[in-house]
Structure formats: structure tokens, C-alpha cells
């Protein structure tokens, strides 16, 4: 299984005191430099974020990006599982998909994004980019999970003549879910990073990426930090909700 250092996972090991310590160091450095464009203070960022939260355009930007990145992620999760199941069953499909997966994994986000701009409108760019980032991870992990299914359990299923449907639901799914869970944890962190990066390059109107780009153009450092903080918060909330759903699914399966 792929190891993960997604924001949500990091958030679970964070203690309050180091966060406070780093905020104080940041505040001190900002006061020492004395130039908000070079290093904005945490107080200014908090103030700016509080202003933004009160504006309708803030929420419309958040939902614009969230909708697209989440859709790209979910599409990748579904098709990744589907492709992995097909590849596990048919060796030719695994061979056929192998070069594509290697290509997706090794191509830089920027190359994908610029190429994708030729094919799709910039509005839906983050859907495609987050899909391309997450699908290979889900595919590879789930395929490994299927391949490592306990052969003794499969032998048991043969003896009892367990039908394919039950075999998938009880034996494969329960053994593959931890692999899927791990892939999702990694993918959730990646899809936000790649999705927002794509928006910064494509600058679709009304997206978080556009706001970041504008902050760069106008040297609005408080805006840049406030939007970055927003991205972290939204991605953590999305990750928590999605992983909660996966855990509920696992619990449901265990009690089938």
C-alpha cells in the first residue's frame, strides 16, 4: 500500500503547542522584516480571511473549485477501481493500461495542464487534472490489493462453490478496501494540489486558482495566504468526509 502524508493525516498528529510556537515565530519574523508584501503576519492573514469569508464571491469560488476537484477525484476513484478489476481479470487489459499508468505517474502536472488546455475549456481543467493525478494511484493500489488476495480463501471459495457475486463482496472487497483507503488518502492530498495548480495555469474565472493568480499579479500577499489557508481547510474537510464514508462502508461490510 502506498504511504500517505495527506493534510488530513498530518492534522491528526498535530499538537497545539508546536502550531502556536510556529505562529509566534512567523509573527516575530514578519515584525522583524516589517514589510507585509515580503512576509505578511498571521494576524493580517486572519483578518483578511475573516473579510473574505463574509463575501459571497469567496463561497462561490470555493464551491467552483470544490465541485470540479471533487468530481475529478470521484471519477478517478470509480474508474480506477473498475480498471483494476478488469486488469486483474484480463492480463491483456493490464498490459494495455501499463504504459498509460506509467505516463500519468511520471508526467509533471504543468505539462498535463498545458496540454489539457488545448483539449478542454479552462473551466473544467481541474476535473481532468485531478482525475489524471488520482486514477493511476487508485488503479495501482487496488490492483495490488486484488492480486494479494489470500489464495487460501480463494481455494475455500472454490470448495464451497461460492458464486462470483458473493466472492467479490465478501472476499475481494474486504481485502481490497484497505488498499483503496490508502490510495484515497494519498489521492485526496494530490488532487487538491494538482487541481489548484491547474487552475492557476488555466485561470478559469471564479475559481480559487484565479484568486491565487490575481493575488500574485497584485502582490496581495495577505490574499495569497488567506486563499492558501482556505484550500488547506477545504481539502482537510473533504478528506475527512470522504474517509468517514469509506470507514462507514468498511463497518457495514464487516457486519453484512
Amino acid at each position: 500500500m502506498t504511504s500517505s502524508t495527506s493534510p488530513g493525516k498530518l492534522a491528526r498528529v498535530l499538537r497545539v503547542w508546536p502550531v502556536v510556537a510556529w505562529l509566534l515565530i512567523w509573527q516575530g519574523l514578519s515584525m522583524y522584516i516589517g514589510h507585509e508584501v515580503l512576509l505578511v503576519s498571521p494576524v493580517t492573514v486572519a483578518r483578511r480571511l475573516a473579510q473574505l469569508v463574509g463575501e459571497a464571491v469567496f463561497w462561490s469560488s470555493v464551491f467552483f473549485s470544490l465541485r470540479r476537484i471533487a468530481f475529478g477525484f470521484l471519477l478517478a476513484a470509480v474508474t480506477g477501481v473498475l480498471f483494476a478489476a478488469l486488469a486483474a481479470r484480463f492480463r491483456r487489459i493490464e498490459e494495455f493500461l501499463a504504459p498509460v499508468v506509467v505516463l500519468f505517474k511520471s508526467t509533471p502536472v504543468a505539462s498535463f495542464t498545458i496540454l489539457a488546455l488545448i483539449w478542454v475549456s479552462s473551466r473544467n481543467l481541474s476535473v481532468l487534472v485531478s482525475y489524471l493525478m488520482v486514477m493511476p494511484i487508485v488503479y495501482t493500489n487496488v490492483l495490488n490489493g486484488i492480486k494479494s488476495a489470500n489464495p487460501k480463501l480463494l481455494e475455500m471459495a472454490d470448495v464451497f462453490g461460492i458464486p462470483a457475486g458473493r466472492r467479490i463482496a465478501y472476499i475481494y472487497v474486504s481485502q481490497v478496501l484497505p488498499f483503496f483507503q490508502s490510495a484515497c488518502l494519498v489521492g485526496l492530498g494530490l488532487c487538491w494540489k494538482a487541481g489548484i495548480a491547474a487552475e492557476v495555469i488555466g485561470i478559469p474565472g471564479g475559481s480559487i486558482g484565479e484568486k491565487l493568480y490575481m493575488a500574485k499579479v497584485y502582490l496581495a500577499t495577505p490574499d495569497l495566504f488567506a486563499w492558501t489557508l482556505t484550500i488547506i481547510c477545504v481539502s482537510v474537510v473533504f478528506e475527512r468526509l470522504f474517509m468517514l464514508l469509506v470507514r462507514l462502508l468498511i463497518t457495514r461490510l464487516e457486519r453484512l
Binding site: 487460501k152 480463501l153 475455500m156 470448495v159 461460492i162 458473493r166 465478501y170 474486504s174 461490510l253 464487516e254
Partner: protein
């Protein structure tokens, strides 16, 4: 229809485990196979179940028949509950009450029903394995040291439950304990 094994030979490299072994497993009766370790008892059961092919010889009376088994290892889906593991091999619509009653007969508390098997003790898991085999729809039941890891009381309950629920069925089981064979009322075959 009786299950017959004719002149079965099986070797793993230079190690000959079965050499021209023949026997007849009577229909609707219990047959117990005993013998020292390494004499091919498990291999024999695996050949009967079709999980391994003999080097020579043949098995008749098994094809097209519904099989059930207790393997030497538990072979349970660790992250599923006891009830799910049993339901996996049962007919559709098996009620929780039926499973709970069977569990109680072998000394498993009702709260084991929804407990994941990975959190169970070795003895509890073994009883789930036995129940799974007995509650499946089967014509031939093959058991490889089914009562190992059970304490005296649990073993007695499990053997009595097995005898009650395999009446009239073809049962083949491997054991090192002749008293198990006596209680189940089986014919004994010794692999020397």
C-alpha cells in the same frame, strides 16, 4: 453414491506421500482417517476436494456433488463478522436466529455473532469454522483436524453438534484422536 479412491499416488519431489492408496468412503456415513504426521492425510483430502491432482490413480463419486470443508487452517475472512463468514457459504436468506442458535450449541456467546473474527480467540474461530462447514449446503463434508485448538468442554460440544448435523451425510475427517472417531461413530481407516 460412495466416494472411491483407486490406487492414488502422490509425491512432492523425492518425498512419496501416497503410494497406491485405495479406499471406499461409504455414502451417508462417517469415515475417519488416522495416521502419523507426514503420511499424506491432508494431501488425500485435498485430492478428494479436487484442489490437487494425484500423480496417478483416480477419484470417483465426487464430481457434481456439493462440498463443504474444515481446513487445517481457519481460512476465515478476518475482517468480517462470524455471522458474515457463515452466511458467505450458506443458502440465501439464512436468518441471524438460526446462526445464533448454532453458535450457542457449540458454546459461542450470542455477542460473537457480529464480532469480527480477527478479534476472536483461536478456539472461538475454530468453532465458527466448524459451524460454517456444517451450515453450508453440502453432500460431502471433509474435515481436517476440525477439533484441534478446542478445550475439553468446547470439543465435546463441537463433536456432538457435528454428529447431530451431519447425520445421513457423507463425512470424511482426519484426526489424531481416536475418541473423536468413536463419538462420531465413524469407520476408521489407518494410513500407515
Amino acid at each position: 453414491m460412495a466416494v472411491e479412491l483407486f490406487e492414488i499416488c502422490k509425491a512432492y519431489g523425492a518425498n512419496i506421500v501416497l503410494d497406491n492408496f485405495s479406499c471406499r468412503i461409504e455414502e451417508g456415513a462417517v469415515t475417519c482417517i488416522m495416521g502419523p504426521s507426514g503420511r499424506g492425510k491432508t494431501t488425500l483430502l485435498r485430492i478428494m476436494l479436487g484442489l490437487e491432482q494425484p500423480d496417478s490413480g483416480r477419484v470417483t463419486g465426487m464430481s457434481g456433488r456439493r462440498k463443504s470443508a474444515v481446513f487445517q487452517e481457519d481460512r476465515l475472512c478476518d475482517n468480517l463478522s462470524a455471522a458474515s463468514n457463515i452466511r458467505l457459504v450458506c443458502r440465501k436468506g439464512m436468518r441471524n436466529e438460526e446462526i445464533e442458535a448454532a453458535m450457542s450449541a457449540v458454546g459461542l456467546a450470542s455477542d460473537c455473532l457480529n464480532q469480527t473474527v480477527r478479534s476472536m480467540s483461536g478456539g472461538q474461530r475454530r468453532r465458527v469454522v466448524i459451524l460454517r462447514a456444517l451450515m453450508a449446503d453440502y453432500d460431502v463434508l471433509v474435515m481436517d483436524e476440525p477439533f484441534k485448538e478446542l478445550d475439553v468442554e468446547a470439543k465435546e460440544k463441537a463433536i456432538l453438534h457435528t454428529r447431530e448435523h451431519s447425520l445421513g451425510k457423507t463425512v470424511v475427517f482426519v484426526t489424531h484422536d481416536e475418541s473423536e472417531c468413536d463419538i462420531l461413530g465413524g469407520r476408521l481407516i489407518r494410513l500407515e
